[in-house]
Symmetry: C2
Subunit: 408 residues, 2 copies
């Protein structure tokens, strides 16, 4: 395996200071599932009354733990809950042996944490197709359950990393009726990141009080605009999972609060952006805005066609203001477009208008924008009023280095 | 622009010896459209009675010459015809100026070659969005028309290259009623190669006698299994054009000849494979076979999802028998699949069966297959009897080198 030790140039300066969420405790361990000399298992315990919602990969080859989590979503329960995650092995495409591993881990977590098996949510991330040595995980569960801490979310963010070069965290607080509701989340993800899925692995905790169906509906809606609007390489994982747990310990009911929904959105978008900023080999953070599309679906098709195009992404890596490749990507998207109405901007610079290079176009100004770390591409389809924004990164030698050797 | 001078390691040893096709003559010139010190314009003249069929990119941002060619397909004419191709500039996304350039070139070719404008087919390939300096082309037309030669197809194959590292040609002959019908074709293409399109630039000539509608129907059917079944990078060009011209000079009618259709298929497949073998940065030629799919459309979706996956392609570059990424690509394709029925082979080596690693799987044997230059991946979906075969190449540092600097 290639040793890619450098931290992404797009990484935040430091892991953020996250608020402690009442009713949630964390513990981590180095179980040696695959990696040596680092933590690879994290446990989060949740107090009785916690409400859990989620979103998961739509892959037809999704993993055993994903199928198990999906089956448990929406089951109301007043009892406690637990989340158990391991890195190093995804327990995907492992047949009946994989299902048995999930059952073994779930039973052990339920036993150690005194919660029903139906309230144990597990995720596994790492190599596909290898049997998960679940006994290494169950062996550390007693110690994990005995050592949970409310302020250990940063360690949890570390334990779930695979090819990530930095741990990912984000938070928000909302004042409702003079009282504070807090949200804190962590994520992992760097490659095999693509749309039409739930997300990588993301765990978000809040002390808000909310009904399960309300929380699920907010999560599903915000997911479409955040994790389902990022792409690193157009490849969709078999393990992607987003779990949001509301412990209710703040006592603040947020069922219909726009402020809460907005705050959750900001945490989800922050984590989604951090995944792109840690995209394998990334050196540029790219926002693609499509405006003027005929329908919302068309807007997203165009935006994703641009964001997934290897030729667009390599041009950005080369700091080349190659707007012809954006025209190409719009043309191949399958969504409605009229060549002679297209407009394109890099940042504030008008590049093309009404189907050809703009009269005011300055190659120098465009080249200067491309040298920045944050690239903004805006394409006006000129046919309607639908819009879409997606985020991606460039395609560099680093991506080849990582993926020609890493067995994922 | 990065200088990528090395010839693809997958290139044939030499340009093949192609038969002279009666009724076709070629000429080339160095017009300096963009490149210096090489030919960049080719003219092919076709005798009266020649029948022309074709297939073109379905991009919604396709170029002015493509739109012009499409409008001229299917128009019967007993008069002569001509094909004029330039490299270095694609005359795509150039608005009204681009349409005027096509008109100027077409008129000049018609005049120089004494054929109607409706029988002049032009193609342009190269940078997108720059005005085509068509006067450099019209300036050499008189000399081109005066110097056509029947045996100059190899020079024509050279003149149409862009990032290609070798010229591409293929031929076939068929015995019908004791007489020989010949087919010879040339192609260019290396990057921006993807499915759901006609093809790169391909020109195929035959002395067969055939009705235009019959020729078009054979070309369309064979195109789906050849040029529409290859992908280098999932990006679809705005200029892709396939033109097949039948001069009829052999006097042999082939309207319903299976032998002729098979021979044309072999020439088209050979040229399509050569395009993949010259895929930007390619070091491996990859055949993806999907069997057991529920429908033909599903089979092709699965095959293209595998062939376009950056993670599958980088694993092949790294000679890594990473079958987990094939499972991932099947899962994300959107086509029907049941994880627990999947089977995977590398060459003759059974890797996975019924949704998990095969009991007989040998990592050493699989690794040995991956070290070869020709990789064969077979995936059995296990749901039906539909199949699809597509061809691609690996994704290497060479692709990044070429595309982070080349303005296409």
């Amino acid at each position: 395996m290639a040793k890619i030790s450098a931290v992404s140039p797009l990484a935040p300066a430091a892991f953020p200071s996250l608020p402690v969420i009442g009713g949630v405790k964390f513990a981590t361990a180095a179980a040696g599932v695959k990696y040596q000399g680092r933590t690879d298992v994290m446990l989060a315990t949740l107090v009785p009354g916690t409400v859990v919602a989620g979103a998961f990969t739509r892959s037809s080859t999704r993993s055993a733990p994903v199928l198990d989590c999906q089956a448990k979503m929406g089951i109301a329960s007043a009892e406690g809950a637990a989340i158990l995650v391991n890195s190093g092995n995804s327990n995907a495409f492992t047949g009946k042996v994989g299902v048995a591993s999930v059952a073994a881990i779930t039973a052990a977590v339920a036993d150690a944490c005194h919660v029903p098996e139906g309230r144990v949510f597990t995720s596994s991330t790492g190599v596909i197709g290898e049997p998960l040595p679940h006994e290494r995980i169950t062996a550390v569960l007693g110690s994990l359950a005995a050592n949970t801490k409310a302020d250990d979310i940063a360690a949890a963010a570390q334990a779930i990393m695979t090819t990530d070069t930095f741990p990912k965290g984000a938070s928000a607080t909302v004042l409702i009726d003079g009282k504070t509701v807090s949200i804190a989340g962590i994520a992992k993800g760097s490659g095999m990141i693509a749309p039409d899925m739930a997300t990588m692995l993301v765990y978000i905790f809040t002390d808000a009080k909310i009904a399960q169906d309300k929380l699920q509906s907010i999560v599903s809606a915000q997911n479409e605009k955040t994790f389902n609007s990022i792409t690193v390489d157009s490849d969709t994982s078999t393990s992607d999972s987003l779990i949001v747990a509301a412990t209710g310990t703040s006592g603040i009911a947020v069922d219909d609060s726009v402020e809460f929904s907005d705050a959750l959105h900001s945490v989800m978008q922050d984590l989604a952006h951090q995944v792109v900023r840690d995209g394998e080999g990334a050196t540029k953070f790219v926002e693609v805005n499509v405006i003027g599309a005929a329908t919302d679906a068309d807007a997203k098709l165009h935006a994703m066609s641009i964001a997934n195009s290897p030729l667009v992404k390599t041009a950005i890596a080369g700091e080349d203001a190659n707007w012809g490749r954006i025209v190409m990507a719009v043309g191949k998207s399958g969504a409605a477009a009229d060549r002679d109405l297209l407009g394109i901007r890099f940042g504030d610079i008008e590049v093309a208008k009404n189907g050809w290079r703009s009269e005011s176009y300055s190659e120098e100004a465009a080249a200067a924008h491309m040298k920045g770390e944050d690239i903004v591409i805006t394409v006006d389809i000129g046919l309607g009023s639908s819009t879409s924004t997606v985020w991606t990164c460039d395609l560099t030698h680093g991506y080849i280095d990582i993926n020609a050797d890493y067995r994922s």
